[in-house]
């Protein structure tokens, strides 16, 4: 399976994603933001980091960079596009997924493990996963998901919420919400379910001696689903 990770100026989880994809059997290529064309890919990943320093709005400059037209076309033709952290911020800026990401509730960067509950497995990312509750890692300053009430209704009606922040028992409550996201939303899909944006970093959970192995389950399953 072929994957492509886009490197924007200021991306800093691009290598980690490359390591993770290769570890689980993807043939991954690093793609420079200034290229025109995506190579043939089964999966495109927008990695975490601080693209363009996030000096304007997080992800907004990156969403206009050269390669993104090709990424958007790929997504619109049904290709799998996954945005993690800053990649999620870029995705909302392109409009491929609805909503926006505001600064965290306490106006502080947060780096820690969280639990998330998968809401909908009817998509290529989570289909066939046995567990519902995953321990993943977050590291962000702007992960406070927000959308209008109309959007929220539409998102729910279309089963577009990918994951919610919860506790280790899967309880989705405000006290387990690390950043103030509306309804504890941690990740979201587009209507067609081929584009996924989420704040947690599965690529940081691929080793038992690091934080844990739930990221490994995610990548292994993703590879099998794409095959």
């Amino acid at each position: 399976m072929k994957s492509s990770v886009i490197t924007f100026p200021g991306s800093n989880c691009d290598r980690d994603m490359d390591v993770a994809l290769k570890k689980f059997g993807f043939k991954n290529k690093m793609i420079w933001h200034n290229d025109n064309e995506l190579p043939k890919s089964d999966l495109v990943v927008l990695p975490g980091g601080f693209s363009y320093g996030d000096y304007l709005r997080c992800g907004s400059v990156a969403s206009k960079s050269k390669i993104m037209q090709s990424v958007i076309n790929f997504a619109k033709s049904g290709g799998l596009v996954m945005g993690i952290c800053n990649g999620f911020q870029i995705l909302v800026e392109t409009g491929l997924v609805p909503g926006v990401l505001l600064r965290n509730k306490y106006l502080e960067f947060i780096c820690k493990n969280v639990f998330v509950k998968i809401d909908n497995k009817d998509n290529p990312y989570f289909k066939n996963l046995e567990k519902d509750i995953f321990e993943l890692h977050i590291a962000h300053n702007e992960g406070n998901y927000f959308c209008t009430e109309d959007q929220l209704k539409e998102i729910k009606d279309n089963n577009q919420v990918a994951i919610y922040y919860c506790n280790n028992d899967g309880k989705i409550e405000e006290e387990f919400n690390p950043n103030g996201s509306i309804k504890n939303i941690a990740g979201i899909l587009n209507k067609e379910k081929n584009v996924l944006g989420m704040m947690p970093h599965p690529e940081r959970m691929i080793d038992s001696c690091l934080s844990g192995e739930d990221g490994s389950l995610f990548f292994k399953n993703l590879l099998n689903n794409i095959k």
Binding site: G10, R15, F50, H137, C209
Partner: protein
């Protein structure tokens, strides 16, 4: 502007120093030249008060590839790999403007490391603030933490450890020391020594602005009532540009175009150009019209003294300009050929086709002043006799609760959760433990690092305090299973012009030297920060030690959380009951006098090496060194982290329970072992003549003493975890 004595003094030079400049030049310097002298001869750049004493530190060793004198120190970690590391202070700027001051401190130290060709793989920091009651403390802490995070997080380098202390002596002068470790192949290390004539001198990175002019001079002066006016001397950081600069430099370094490279840190273009030429025994010619400027009408004086961040100076091989330019263009960074190396041994500056400065480089470097300052020895204070009646009404449980939530003991999670500590995917031990540990990417090796200070001990007796911090750093590395390799130091002191402060410096350095020599734990890099004082009040002497160790097989790494019920807990090293200068004496008895605990280097080495052997043989399940607060603090933290209780029995000894549980005798560790291993472990300890006490067994979810006092681990946890969070919100 007329250059005269008065102007020289305004530049921070002494009258005698100005006279020396005129004598060496055989003329009066012009304004630009005066600026250059003031930048090169201030304390921060010239080490004029400290050089004499720093020479005494042991800097060599089997594993040392590069000692002090370069951008950072380098140690060998085998298999062709090397670690580049250094710690540096950014105290004054951080007090004036905490966010930018701390951020650029982190940016500066990372640049020092990647200048040598190493990719930064870990950051640490040691930060000291005034009393938690002081009106500025909260804002300073918040600003500094945001600044450190803002820069390090954006760079994508994990912050794996640190230290935060509160003491009223920092009310008017906080300390922000930042440390970075980088990984490099031994045969791809870059140095700052220029070589060859007519080689192009290249400027890359951000444009030069008027920020930070005279930053280094500001760092070399005491604060007074007008510190707020110094805000313009604080640099403004741009971590995004530094990330690009890092990637571009490493890309260029993969080839063979670079002869020498130096980052523009303190004293910017001045010190970087002069250092490169001086080390190569060459001259350098710079055309200031070619320097990319952010602002219009910048004068030669401003261009030379700006401390704008994220800039590098490179001496390239001839003919490599286009190749290099292509790389910097790709990353969207400025690139300009601004000069060349010459054989004149002068620094010559041109502006609008006119020569605006010409100074022989040896005058600036070798002839810079060096002072043998007067200093005063600190006598070892007399021991206090703590009376039984002082202890009569004390309850061990109350003390435990009070001490576990003390600002200097409590969990610093509120701080380190704001730092990305997991990016790069190799952090195998997070902040909050004895040391931070990162894997060497793609290998079975790992590198451990810790930062430590003990200002109270250093204040009570600088010589003992100096030894103690080196030992504490050593213990922190050993406790995670790392073999200590080398240290970097950041020496934060008051004014060297005061005999007491200078004495503290001299004796701390002596102590550091003695311990690091004995432990074969050499000093490979460092930084001196004097004038940490407001008006007449200096800080407590605060040398900070950054230690680095190697774990050959990371699966053998040890953490401090207790692992399983039924396991036994031993204290390694002898508890003598030394309470003077302990947290207990200072906060519970309000007793501030007396000597710090003694250092026995033989025991320190022997105990540490024996622990490493026990780890190597897989006997140790968890370990923690005994430090601030004594045994009970250490055990409680291990319970909290492991969420397991313990039944503690005080061993039979002449010490009362306060002396046993709260004394801060050195050279001690707490270890957890399996019951079935007790005979084998004690026989190893006895064979190596290491004292040990068995103090308890892990059981349940509460901490109990002598079957009487009981406290749930959860309760201790909330005392420990909540203090800082509640204080800041």
């Amino acid at each position: 502007m007329q250059v005269n004595e008065k102007l020289a003094v305004e530049h921070g030079l002494k009258v005698e120093e100005y006279k020396l400049i005129c004598k060496l030049l055989k003329r009066t310097p012009n304004l630009t030249e005066l600026g250059i002298f003031s930048a090169m001869w201030n304390e921060h750049c010239s080490y004029k008060s400290s050089r004499l004493h720093l020479k005494k530190l042991p800097t060599k060793g089997k594993k040392v590839i590069q000692g002090p004198g370069e951008n950072a120190g380098v140690i060998d970690i085998e298999d062709g790999d090397a670690i580049v590391f250094k710690i540096e202070s950014h105290n004054h700027p951080s007090f004036i403007e905490p966010y930018q001051g701390a951020a650029t401190g982190v940016g500066g130290i990372m640049r020092d490391v990647f200048t040598m060709g190493a990719r930064p793989i870990a950051n640490l920091n040691s930060i000291h603030f005034g009393s938690t009651q002081h009106k500025k403390t909260k804002n300073l802490l918040r600003g500094v933490v945001h600044g450190i995070g803002g820069y390090g997080n954006c760079m994508g380098v994990p912050t794996i450890g640190g230290q935060t202390c509160f003491d009223r002596s920092y009310n008017g002068n906080i300390l922000v020391n930042a440390m970075t470790l980088g990984l490099v192949k031994k045969n791809k290390i870059f140095y700052s020594k220029a070589a060859g004539l007519n080689k192009p001198v290249i400027y890359v990175g951000s444009k030069t602005g008027r920020d930070g002019i005279h930053g280094a001079s500001m760092a070399s002066a005491s604060f007074d009532d007008k510190i707020e006016e110094k805000k313009p001397t604080v640099q403004v950081g741009d971590p995004f540009t530094e990330k690009l600069l890092l990637e571009a430099c490493l890309e260029l370094m993969a080839g063979d175009s670079i002869i020498a490279i130096q980052d523009m840190g303190a004293a910017g273009l001045t010190s970087s150009s002069i250092e490169m030429a001086s080390k190569g025994k060459l001259g350098i010619e710079i055309n200031l019209d070619k320097v990319p400027c952010r602002e219009t009408k910048m004068t030669p004086y401003e261009i030379m003294l700006s401390e704008s961040q994220e800039r590098m100076l490179i001496v390239l091989e001839n003919g490599k300009e286009n190749l290099a330019k292509k790389i910097f263009d790709k990353w969207g960074l400025d690139f300009a050929v601004i000069g060349k190396t010459t054989n004149t041994k002068n620094i010559e500056l041109f502006f609008n086709s006119e020569q605006v400065a010409k100074i022989p480089i040896n005058i600036l470097v070798e002839n810079s002043p060096m002072y043998d300052r007067k200093w005063k020895k600190t006598k070892l204070p007399k021991k206090n006799k703590i009376q039984k009646k002082d202890l009569k009404n004390l309850k061990i449980l109350d003390i435990l609760k009070k001490m576990i939530s003390n600002p200097n003991v409590c969990s610093k999670k509120w701080i380190w959760e704001q730092y990305d500590h997991t990016v790069m995917g190799d952090t195998i031990q997070k902040p909050g433990g004895n040391s931070g540990v990162v894997r060497v990417h793609g290998t079975n090796k790992a590198v451990a690092a810790a930062v430590d200070s003990s200002a109270v001990y250093c204040w009570a007796h600088p010589l003992t305090g100096g030894k103690q911090i080196v030992c504490e750093s050593w213990r922190n590395l050993i406790s995670v299973g790392a073999k200590p390799v080398a240290i970097t130091n950041c020496l934060n002191f008051g004014s060297p012009e005061k005999e007491e402060n200078m004495g503290e410096f001299v004796e701390c350095v002596e102590g550091i030297g003695e311990a690091s020599k004995y432990l074969a734990f050499p000093v490979v890099s460092g930084n001196v920060s004097f004038y940490n004082q407001t008006k007449e009040i200096g800080i407590k002497p605060t040398p900070v030690i950054g230690g680095v160790g190697l774990i050959k097989d990371y699966t053998k790494m040890i953490t401090m959380n207790f692992k399983s019920e039924g396991n036994l807990v031993l204290v390694i090293g002898k508890t003598e009951g030394h309470l003077d200068q302990s947290l207990f004496a200072r906060t519970i008895l309000d007793e501030k006098n007396g000597p710090p605990p003694e250092i026995n280097l033989f025991n320190e080495k022997n105990n540490g090496e024996t622990i490493l052997k026990l780890i190597e043989d897989n006997y140790i399940k968890s370990a923690h060194d005994v430090s601030l607060g004594g045994i009970l603090m250490g055990v409680s933290k291990m319970c909290i982290e492991g969420n397991i209780g313990i039944e503690i029995k005080k061993p039979n000894s002449l010490l009362n329970e306060f002396e046993y549980f709260f004394s801060e005798d050195q050279g001690r560790y707490i270890i957890e072992i399996s019951k079935s291993d007790i005979k084998k472990v004690t026989s190893i300890l006895e064979k190596n003549a290491v004292h040990y006490d068995e103090i308890g067994i892990l059981v349940g979810k509460s901490v109990s003493f002598n079957e009487k006092t009981i406290v749930p681990v959860d309760e201790l946890k909330s005392y420990n975890n909540n203090w800082l969070k509640d204080y800041m919100r």
